[in-house]
Assembly symmetry: C2
Amino acid sequence: MRSLPVKSLLLKSLLILLLLVNTAFAAAAADPLPSWNDTAAKKAIVTFVEDVTREGSPDFVPPAERIATFDNDGTLWSEQPNYFPEAFLYYHIKALAPQHPEWKNQQPFKAVLEDDMKTLSAGGEKAWLELDCASHAGITTEELAQSVKEWALTAKHPRTGRLYTEMAYQPMLELLDYLRANGFKTFIVSGGEIDFMRPWTEKVYGIPPEQVVGSSLKTKFELRDGKPVIVFLPEINFMDDGAGKAIGIEQYIGRRPIAAFGNSDGDLQMFQWTTAGSGARFALIVHHTDVDREWAYDRTSAVGRLDKALDEAQAKGWTVVDMKNDWKIIYVFEKQ
Amino acid sequence: MRSLPVKSLLLKSLLILLLLVNTAFAAAAADPLPSWNDTAAKKAIVTFVEDVTREGSPDFVPPAERIATFDNDGTLWSEQPNYFPEAFLYYHIKALAPQHPEWKNQQPFKAVLEDDMKTLSAGGEKAWLELDCASHAGITTEELAQSVKEWALTAKHPRTGRLYTEMAYQPMLELLDYLRANGFKTFIVSGGEIDFMRPWTEKVYGIPPEQVVGSSLKTKFELRDGKPVIVFLPEINFMDDGAGKAIGIEQYIGRRPIAAFGNSDGDLQMFQWTTAGSGARFALIVHHTDVDREWAYDRTSAVGRLDKALDEAQAKGWTVVDMKNDWKIIYVFEKQ
């Protein structure tokens, strides 16, 4: 009758082993995208990542070629009621105003200083460009970076009262992490200014400056008191929007992405360029459908218009995220 | 008397352990730069790398900021009797000639087709630019990459009879590996065309396309038979030389290097920009002093002139590699 305790001990041991194995497997299988509901969008992401990373899979892609490009405004953080780079532009102009007393009586600067959004909107892209060039001319890239860092640490969004950088989308941060954990190299390819993004993208998105592509002004190199500086010129160097995104990818990255993530017609050519490559490809559009938790807009919006790209997504079977139904939470600050 | 065998066994075990530890240490301390003689240049490199990577060192630099930039022509491979990108340009024009019968009677194309180097030299930079623009106009970035790959696999250097890519400098390949093993991210910043380098730098130098900065032509995005392509325009986009190298670094990398490697006056502003940052900085010039194994040239050379940068190196204590005395072998094909 000695066999019982031994058997019991063995069973207990096996049970403990089973529990351990189970815990280990559960940890290994922990949901990498906890803020995503289990809808088609999430399944499409996971299927694609598993297909391109599984050795022996017909869709396997070597790690060096796992390039993923992300639009910024409206894709990684909000872009309403105005693109966030616009908020920085006004901040920067106000900060420089004491050195430019003439701006008080000169449009479009006067409108910025008086928060006269009506005049600014009426001025359109021309006013923006004038403000952008004037506010950069003669300042160094280091001075601009300093101003951007101050803005990122202090400026608050008019609706949420949160730092703009806290309005990064939690589900997209999880997606960035998930891709990187699977050997992807993640890049930003944004219509926003490259020098506005680089000072904070590493901290907020885990994307280092050298993996940020964006619009830019021309610069010149000069020695100031014997010290080399790079100074902005009031002239556009590159517009990283629409067809410019495909060109920017080729120019900066030099390798075609296998996955692209965006939210507007400005991303259409990036999607086309990405998906036209051979092998498995992935395109995902963040569709702003959540009027309560974020904003709802698409075909007729002045900011982040999504019209042609939405049609092409439907025609070509690209993944469209329905923000309202696909995301459990929106912002990083909602995370428990 | 039983203690002796036990003691002997213990001693034997200790001896084996000692041998193992010794072998392990020897492996760990294996010379990472075996093709470098033990001269001042090698010591300067190793001291710098140890200083910036040792935790607790006053010069410690976090891995993310360990950016090292390398010129290509004359720094990572030879550049005589003509810059190697020039050899590709002529190859490419010859390959395209059947589609351009008019080139037979039209300079500077005629000179290329007839290997008339005298006329080409006389034409100078203007002729080069005309050839470069004409040979790119209307072709896609993928078509150019294909042509570059063919050239890299077949074209041989007139003096060594070796593939151009075999004329990469073995000591510099070791240096690239050594830096990467110490957490550095290595970039090329070359006056050569970016689209000429990217198809082979990963294989030859271990530097992926997205870490290559160079000169470029403008491009446009278009749909050809519904398929997106990026097509070259006969117009300069960016000249990555001289002050352009500092600008290119800021534009593409967005982070100041802590170490820069070059060989000519075209690298001067890259050195200035790099060394003007705070903390430990490193600048190294490859001085071509080996008339027997490679070439010897500096202040008066038309190719890779090294004059002002040599003066500044001496004044500022930058490291100058004396190729003849500092390198055991020159080329990767000399490696045993």
